[in-house]
Amino acid sequence: MGNGILSLSYLIGSVSFIYGLKMLSHPDTARRGNLYAAVGMTLAIFATIFLYTDKDGVGLGNYTWIFAGLIIGSIIGTIIAKKVLMTAMPQMVSLFNGMGGACAAIISIVEFKHMIHSGVTVADEPVLTTVILLGLVIGTVSFTGSMIAFGKLNGNIRDKMLPMQQVINIGLLVVIFSLLIGIVTGWIGGDNPMGMMYALLAISALYGVLFVMPIGGADMPVVISLLNSFTGMAAAFGGFMYDNSVMLTGGILVGSAGTVLTVLMCNAMNRSLLNVIVGAFGGQQGGGATGASGGTYKEISVSDLAVLMLYSKNVVIVPGYGLAVAQAQHTCHELEKVLDQNGVEVKYAIHPVAGRMPGHMNVLLAEADVSYDKLKEMEEINPEFSQTDVVLVLGANDVVNPAAKKDPSSPIYGMPILDVEDAAHIIVNKRSMKPGYAGIENQLFFEPKTSMLFGDAKDVLNKLVSEIKSIA
């Protein structure tokens, strides 16, 4: 009876995951889909606690510990998730993903110890050993990788490249696989492979760090999506280990869906996954090739810009990664309001991958109460640039780079961009002249119509707003 109910709960859980994910991919049903999956998960968790029995029919114990863990995790998880700013959402996903990876790795450690201590040797159970160790490796890589991604998005860790980074990474991968095969076949570690298991753990942890370290901060969402599908696979290995259907369904589903999503995100940037992973390489070469063709640029002062904007008919704001980093969405909305009061029409041009976070700009500006009908999609706004007086580019770079249209040798060639160069005046706000994540120079900055406005987006906008208020 109990077993039947457990199976039924797992069945409902599995269906809720599949259906939830399906609903999450349509804007109208997304929120309900998330809720369905959460309900299915809760059902599967409680069914496991009360109804799970091992092969000998013995149920689970340590209820106090289990519930204490569940309660502590729920409270901390809810607080973090509720308190976090909208701008910090991507790193939160990364953090929670890392927790899942660590969870999978710990399960593997305990089960491996358990297997060895109960007198079962690796030679008796090669399949089980492989599954446990794969769960360990993938879970650990996902954990340390996600923590680095979290640190990068949070601004604690900078992009770093070791000399020969890619060679070291490939070398580590070879070591990991050799160790894995060695332990399973009994060549390494023999009958007591505990030490080798810890060595595998340590090297996997190191690989996770070095895998994410050189990848540019702006590419982190792609990396997080990839690590997300890794954790899915680790969960699936756990499911195989315990003959647990709901873990298998959920894990494999996320593993495959996560992989597709990663590829889709890369496609939206017109790049390949490989190009993102070894991105730092390609970027440097690109920068070297086109860097020489730069030229001179001119700067504009905040007071000049205030006057220019105030006497324009219409202004289009192009938000990008810099706006998200500076958390300038509220100040940006303020600028829009003050211009609007003075009879200047303001619109926002949203590139589909602005900030490399698909949909991120929409979410950010919605948080600052920017009205939805002021946000214009790329196809809609592009024909309007030729009648626009001033375009203000806030921390966006590659999505307005004309090289995507004109230069077939550019890494971003072919990516659809916002045609800001059609406007009468183009103002670009950046922190410095440093090229964007891909390391490619932007010819737009050297156009005679373009003026640069250096500084943090939030600071600059604050000054601009007070300047406009004082002269209006």
């Binding site: 991919s25 968790i45 195989f240 494999i252 589903l253 698909p358």
Partner: protein, 104 residues
């Protein structure tokens, strides 16, 4: 060769499940608008928190004198719960923004 065949026979159901889920994952995701990429990633992130079930089994089977298993199991339950609860709540907050945006 013999070993491979017996492996396939023994784990036939799982292999079938694996193939079906991979295909399903591809199908479900392949036509999603780019504005939903981030919430979808976050939702999928919460779903792989199902690994918590493994943590609960580890915890529930730990003998009361095996402190290492108890501590690691307890840690795993907390981490898994963080993944599940945090994941679903963050996704819900993101989607809430989308909803508000639509109404305006």
């Amino acid at each position: 060769m013999e070993a491979i065949f017996s492996f396939i026979t023994e784990h036939y159901n799982y292999i079938l499940l694996l193939i079906l889920m991979v295909i399903l994952g591809f199908e479900v995701i392949s036509h999603v608008p780019s504005v939903l990429h981030t919430p979808l990633m976050s939702g999928a992130n919460a779903i792989h928190g199902v690994v918590i079930i493994g943590a609960i089994i580890v915890m529930g089977q730990a003998e009361s004198d095996n402190y290492l298993a108890l501590i690691l199991g307890f840690l795993a339950v907390i981490l898994g719960t963080l993944n599940v609860v945090g994941g679903f709540v963050v996704t819900d907050r993101m989607l809430e923004m989308f909803k508000k945006k639509k109404k305006n």
